[in-house]
């Protein structure tokens, strides 16, 4: 019998900094300013942080580098690099550390200056001997293959993909922090420059700067907060491959594993979820994840977006900040799914606030549909 980890940790504070462009600042400076914002939001001092959960695109030894910069000596550190899903996966390791008493205040944090530093997606160089001879443009070529297969198997169309991009943009227009806020139409997406068929440049996430941080605390510490805690009701983490070549099925992501784990722990079903915050690296991601997480049948993800359910006023809002496609995508997006969910649950989301929002699903994606992490956050334990 395993330990019950439901609601053993709560989000006490969240912080954002430098979404879009933060010229002249390093990834660490951007991250630290987000950390400061999250600690202030929580009403927790930096000296109270005894658990560190972080990775980034710059530091090979991210744990020691980030702890050194912040001047903390954590009792517990997890700097596992799952890719962009890592920060959602840290809901698991941080809750484990808190539930076992190894730490009381866990800090999840990330920062990147990849837009102003290089202007393009920064990816660590790792030899891919069985892909390299064929000139992959990872990650997009891998996602293009999955998209092509989904279209072949289920009749998903480029118009369905475009509807995903437009849904994100509709939300971004309500978010002052979003990087792209101009109106976007399906026709504009369809007419955009092709990068790797069937994906155009408008099917791809942004390349921005940005930092995000989340402070998690124990149940006891949560009782002393000035704001209502947001409980970590459940989580699940799964990865099935690294190279797209060894993905078991191109149209079924490991979200089909991580999702049920999270729902089981939380004791809820997809029908109970009020908002969904997904890692939308490419327009195919939300389609796959809505299917794999059980919000619609396999093959119906495109229809879900085309019918408008995800948009402002829809029955199940998805990526209420505008997502990686229109709000921010500083290399690793996962932490921003948690931050947006917490802001919505607390009723702090301004013009984009979803009414009657009590239970949120957050979902991180890493690598080429490789690592998936799901979290369920709620106002009620």
């Amino acid at each position: 019998m395993s330990m019950d980890l439901r609601s053993k940790a709560a989000v006490a504070g969240v912080g954002l900094y430098g979404l879009g462009e933060a010229p002249g600042e390093t990834h660490m400076e951007i991250m630290a300013r987000a950390v400061k914002a999250a600690l202030d939001d929580a009403g927790v001092a930096l000296a109270e942080v005894d658990g560190l959960f972080t990775t980034n695109m710059n530091n090979l030894l991210a744990g020691p580098s980030v702890a050194e910069y912040l001047g903390i000596v954590p009792r517990v550190t997890d700097a596992t690099n799952f890719g962009g899903s890592a920060f959602v996966a840290y809901l698991q390791s941080a809750t484990m550390a808190i539930a076992t008493g190894l730490c009381e205040v866990a800090l999840i944090c990330y920062g990147s200056n990849q837009r102003t530093a290089s202007g393009k997606l920064h990816s660590p160089v790792e030899p891919q001997p069985y892909e390299a001879p064929y000139k992959p443009r990872n990650p997009i070529t891998a996602y293009a293959l999955a998209t092509a297969r989904h279209m072949h198997d289920f009749g998903t169309t480029r118009r369905d993909l475009a509807e995903v991009a437009v849904s994100m943009r509709d939300w971004a227009q309500l978010n002052p922090d979003a990087f792209l806020r101009d109106p976007l139409s399906v026709d504009e997406v369809l007419a955009a420059r092709m990068v790797a068929d069937p994906l155009s440049v408008r099917d791809c996430c942004l390349v921005t700067d940005g930092g995000g941080a989340v402070v998690l605390v124990s149940e006891a510490r949560a009782r002393t907060l000035r704001k209502a805690p947001v409980w970590v009701r459940g989580f699940g983490v799964a990865h099935t491959h690294k190279s797209i070549m060894e993905m078991p099925e191109l149209t079924i992501s490991p979200a089909a594993i991580s999702g049920p784990l999270a729902f089981d722990m939380a004791g809820v079903t997809p029908k109970d979820i009020d908002i969904v915050e997904l890692y939308d690296a490419f327009t195919i991601n939300p389609i796959l994840f809505m299917e794999d997480l059980g919000f619609c049948p396999k093959g119906q993800g495109g229809r879900f977006f085309t019918e408008g359910h995800s948009r402002p006023g829809g029955r199940l809002p998805v990526n209420t900040n505008g997502g990686g496609l229109s709000c921010t995508h500083p290399g690793m997006y996962g932490v921003f799914t948690i931050i947006e969910a917490v802001q919505q649950l607390r009723g702090e989301a301004g013009a984009r606030q979803v009414s009657d929002c009590a239970l949120a699903l957050v979902h991180g994606n890493g690598g080429t549909l490789a690592s998936q992490a799901t979290g369920i956050l709620g106002l009620e334990r």
Binding site: P129, Y130, E131, P133, Y134, K135, P136, R137, T141, A144, L145, A146, A148, R149, H152, R193, M194, V195, A196, D197, P198, L199, S243, I244, M245, E246, L250
Partner: protein, 124 residues
């Protein structure tokens, strides 16, 4: 069984240099694996033997990478279903990239790189 001086990764490339497309077959569970490795990904056995690939494959998924002509132009990047039940990233030669479809039947060959590439059945 031959004792190879190199690991499976180097051995695969050595076979390619000799003009041979070889795959690993598990002596314990009877399934093929790719990419080359030390332990069978299906059963964990280290009894992986090299066998000649049939060279028969179909296109599982394909993308055309769009690139300006001065940079080499558009090219096909595809995932192939090999008859042995494994998948492999490769490309298709002898057919324009836009004319390759999921399900197309292919035959493997080794180009000058050397690397395994595929040609549509019946294509010149």
């Amino acid at each position: 069984m031959t004792d190879f001086p190199n690991g499976p990764d180097a051995q695969f490339r050595q076979f390619l240099a000799e003009g041979r497309f070889m795959l690993q077959l598990c002596g314990a569970c009877g399934r093929h694996v790719f990419a080359p490795r030390v332990l069978c990904k299906h059963c964990g056995s280290d009894r992986l033997d090299w066998v000649a690939a049939s060279g028969r494959a179909t296109v599982h998924a394909a993308t055309v990478v769009r690139q300006k002509p001065e940079k080499g132009g558009d090219y096909l990047y595809a995932l192939m279903d090999l008859a042995e039940g494994v998948r492999m990233i490769s490309t298709v030669v002898g057919t324009p990239p836009d004319a390759v479809r999921i399900g197309d039947r292919l035959r493997a060959e080794i180009d000058d790189t050397p690397r395994v590439v595929f040609r549509k059945e019946g294509a010149a």
